[in-house]
Symmetry: C2
Subunit: 159 residues, 2 copies
Amino acid sequence: MAGMDADAYALLARIIREVRVAALGTLRQGAPLVSMVAFLPEADFGGFRLRVSRLAWHTQDMLADARVSLSIAEPDDGRADPQTLARVALRGDVVQLPGEGESFERLKADWLARFPESAVTFGLADFSFWRLVPRDARFVAGLGRTYNLSAESLRRAAI
Amino acid sequence: MAGMDADAYALLARIIREVRVAALGTLRQGAPLVSMVAFLPEADFGGFRLRVSRLAWHTQDMLADARVSLSIAEPDDGRADPQTLARVALRGDVVQLPGEGESFERLKADWLARFPESAVTFGLADFSFWRLVPRDARFVAGLGRTYNLSAESLRRAAI
């Protein structure tokens, strides 16, 4: 596996910043469950925020086991070979964030700027923010271009 | 959870038949890993075929533990609220399929009809077909419209 060049870092940053929904993998009774979630990366890619309902299976799963994976993929644009779509799979642990205070209010404003239609969830007691801290990432920039990244390398893409 | 009406069944069938790539959740050292894969459903939705390389992490994971989840989601079309995108998460076990014989040749023809650019993989010894047999499915038809489906109900969508 060769090192990543500037173009690959730029592509990684672009999909993390532009893609709005991702596939979240959680553990459910010891087996994988994948579900679609909206997400918001921190500016330096050191954390990825989710907003989920306690009624959702993935939230129950995260309450029971913090280990998750989040796959962020370019949406299929109908190209001849969909295997060339860029995607990155993060692996790490999640923590639930407090539902009040200054950092909550800042995050709420950022979240609403990206997902205005989710305003209704801020009146519902069962919704909360979670933060995924990536331990590592596997980035597929295209066919045959796969890179294993540390959390530090992932943050380099944000620069 | 109310029963699914004909429109919901039609939407489920449409995303299963039209979406080309999905998020595969596997177990890696006991933790979830999510990766993007191309897939091809059987006509009656009784099985979902993948074509993967033994060099890929998800294939190593499936060789070690057959339990997987596959999330098939409408691609983000830029709508105001991405949480309304339809998606279905299957859960079940995978088996590796033989790389020769009549059923292999039929599947190869079907696969190439959908993914012509993957022809090159048929000359590579490390690629093989796998079949996911769903045990159940969780279908989100849109905001607040979530249905738990048995494998039998999933097959009903194929009629």
